[in-house]
């Protein structure tokens, strides 16, 4: 049997009658970043908790490097760094002590640990805070320490559950940069997110989940080709001043516009032919209407795929 870095075999998790996960099958190997994408309540955290033995599956198995996490946890998590939800740290510990605790649990030799702690703290921009008590820190700073803890000991597999949650926009982009840096080293990063742009920006592959079911897994381009609605593309358009009903009706009548979805009076989503030449014709027709067009933004393939995947099951 081939050993995958991460393997889910018919994973099910039930809460009473409710299926939080239904027959998840997933095999991931290699050094890359895989985005685990799905809306809130899709089952992302549930899956990751099973992979760290925080909960047990109702049936099925979860393997890391071929070892069943729920039976041989200590062995399976030997080279795993995990951040699930938003952990809290004993508030009286300093950042250095908190990281030492995890580093020692992981078995990083003493002479390397000091250096390793500085390295991971530097990575998450928390080096200046090493000797400050965690209890005095903001939510975002704690989350950075949580990320640093997951990176201790240079794990082969890094599991991150919405790592940018709880961070301000700058923090989010810094964490994304950290993950992009990590990709250059030898890690398999499995990162859950409900933010499409985050996954398409950082990840090489995407696994899409909703209502506890895995809907697609593959390289981003494969998933896009598979799920992109044929010959159609969604374009978001914006205007300088609010549109009247009459004006939106005019847009509906433009040749090649298949559907108009009103976001608000300044923004619309129009479904159009994906052929670039036809799109350019639609753009000039829009301009000719003189409605004060300010933006014409065709969605990325992944956005289309996302919308079509999550519409199918909705």
């Amino acid at each position: 049997m081939q050993k995958y870095s991460i393997e889910a075999l018919n994973l099910n998790k039930r809460y009473g009658q409710f299926n939080a996960l239904s027959d998840i099958n997933l095999k991931i190997e290699g050094n890359k970043c895989v985005g685990f994408l799905g809306p809130n309540g899709a089952g992302k955290t549930t899956t990751l908790k099973i992979f760290t033995d925080m909960i047990k599956p109702s049936s099925g198995q979860a393997f890391i490097n071929g070892i069943d996490v729920n039976h041989e946890k200590k062995k399976a998590l030997k080279s795993v760094g995990a951040l699930i939800e938003t952990p809290e740290i004993y508030p009286s510990l300093t950042e250095r002590e908190a990281l030492s605790m995890i580093g020692q649990i992981k078995g990083i030799p003493k002479e390397k640990l000091t250096e390793n702690i500085i390295k991971v703290a530097d990575r998450v921009k928390m080096k200046e805070w090493l000797d400050k008590k965690v209890g005095k820190m903001s939510k975002g700073m704690k989350q950075r320490i949580n990320i640093a803890a997951a990176l201790l000991g240079d794990p082969d597999v890094i599991l991150l559950d919405e790592p940018t949650s709880g961070l301000d926009p700058r923090g989010m982009s810094e964490v994304r940069d950290i993950i992009k840096e990590l990709k250059k080293e030898n890690h398999l990063i499995f990162m859950s997110s409900h933010i499409l742009s985050e996954v398409s920006e950082i990840c090489d592959e995407v696994a899409m989940i909703n209502h506890g079911k895995l809907l697609a897994y593959g390289s981003i381009s494969d998933v896009v080709t598979k799920f992109q609605s044929k010959n159609k593309n969604i374009v978001s358009i914006s205007f300088a001043s609010p549109l009247t009903k009459l004006q939106t009706d005019k847009i509906k009548k433009i040749k090649g516009v298949i559907r108009v979805e009103i976001i608000d009076r300044l923004n619309l989503n129009i479904t159009v032919d994906s052929n670039p030449k036809k799109q350019s014709e639609i753009l000039s027709s829009l301009v000719k209407l003189k409605l004060g067009l300010t933006a014409f933004k065709p969605s990325s393939g992944l956005e289309d795929a996302y919308l079509s995947v999550f519409k199918e099951v909705a």
């Binding site: 549930t46 908790k49 760290t52 033995d53 925080m54 909960i55 047990k56 946890k73 200590k74 062995k75 399976a76 998590l77 030997k78 080279s79 795993v80 995990a82 951040l83 699930i84 939800e85 938003t86 952990p87 809290e88 740290i89 004993y90 009286s92 510990l93 002590e97 908190a98 605790m101 995890i102 020692q104 649990i105 992981k106 078995g107 990083i108 030799p109 390397k112 390793n116 390295k119 949580n146 803890a149 000991g153 240079d154 794990p155 082969d156 599991l159 250059k184 080293e185 030898n186």
Partner: protein
């Protein structure tokens, strides 16, 4: 970039070692925590209170002999201090890991849950022992002052050892409740009610009124702490008719030393096994 990939060179420590790591970091946390300070103050205050009362009133029940001094001073106060320590350090030890989400920081690592449980248990017992040590020092100091001798009767050594066993046993029970509930408030309240009220109520019903030896009650076993300080050791059971003619009588049971040890030991084993089992099964969500 420098090669820092030593991931496969990390050897995860034995569960035994990891247990001590958890005990170490929990101890650091306790040492800086308010609860340790508060408990220390309570133990010292009880000591000061007793010192003042004995110094001012010089009651003969205290001062007739070293043994009666220890018996009057130690018996009641120490069990109260032990119960407080168990509840302070153990009440939220496991439930807090869920409620405060501190468990999320450790449990996703290559470590057995039993190491976390036992490590926290060791730290809680260690800090309770420190409190006990402080109170013992105040007690022995007073005895030395009144009897001009630093030697302690062997019965007090027995009582001290029984107190240590009671710490371990009460902590086991409190950890069990801490493992059963995810809310710290509930686990603390249940432990307090049981140790301070329910057990003694049960003992009254079962022992005093129904005339059955309450061998299954932890606090009954812990009464050996004060019984060993009586000279002679009290009889196993004393039954008194309420009035000369009535058929109705009440019984007082006095636990034997060996029974006390067994009861406390039994409680420790059963609650620890059950608590470990609950923690192992508990889902982090």
């Amino acid at each position: 970039m420098e090669n820092t990939n030593f991931g496969d060179k990390n050897i995860v420590p034995s569960s035994f070692m990891q247990t001590f790591l958890i005990a170490k970091y929990t101890s650091i946390d306790y040492l800086r925590s308010r609860k340790f300070l508060i408990l220390l103050i309570i133990a010292v205050l009880i000591g000061i209170l007793l010192t003042t009362i004995v110094g001012y009133f010089r009651p003969s029940s205290f001062l007739s002999s070293p043994l009666s001094f220890y018996s009057s001073w130690w018996g009641m106060s120490v069990t109260f201090i032990i119960i407080l320590s168990a509840v302070f350090f153990g009440g939220d030890a496991i439930s807090g890991e869920f409620q405060n989400k501190t468990g999320y920081f450790t449990v996703g690592n290559p470590i057995r849950r039993s190491s976390i449980y036992i490590g926290k248990f060791l730290a809680a017992v260690l800090f309770s022992l420190m409190i006990l040590l402080v109170f013992t020092a105040i007690t022995v100091g007073n005895a030395a002052y009144y009897f001009n001798s630093s030697s302690v009767p062997y019965q007090f050594i027995e009582s001290l050892l029984l107190s240590v066993l009671y710490i371990v046993s009460a902590m086991g029970l409190v950890f069990f409740f801490s493992s059963m509930f995810k809310s710290s408030t509930i686990s603390i309240i249940v432990a307090v009610i049981l140790l301070l009220f329910v057990f003694s109520l049960l003992q009254t019903l079962v022992g005093t009124l129904a005339h059955v030896q309450p061998w299954f009650i932890l606090t009954y076993g812990a009464q050996s702490i004060s019984n060993v300080l009586s000279n002679p050791y009290p009889p196993a059971v004393v039954s008194l008719p309420l009035s000369a003619r009535a058929s109705f009588s009440i019984s007082s049971y006095y636990v034997r030393l060996g029974e006390g040890v067994l009861i406390m030991f039994f409680y420790f084993i059963v609650t620890t096994v059950a608590g470990l089992f609950l923690f192992e099964k508990k889902e982090f969500n």
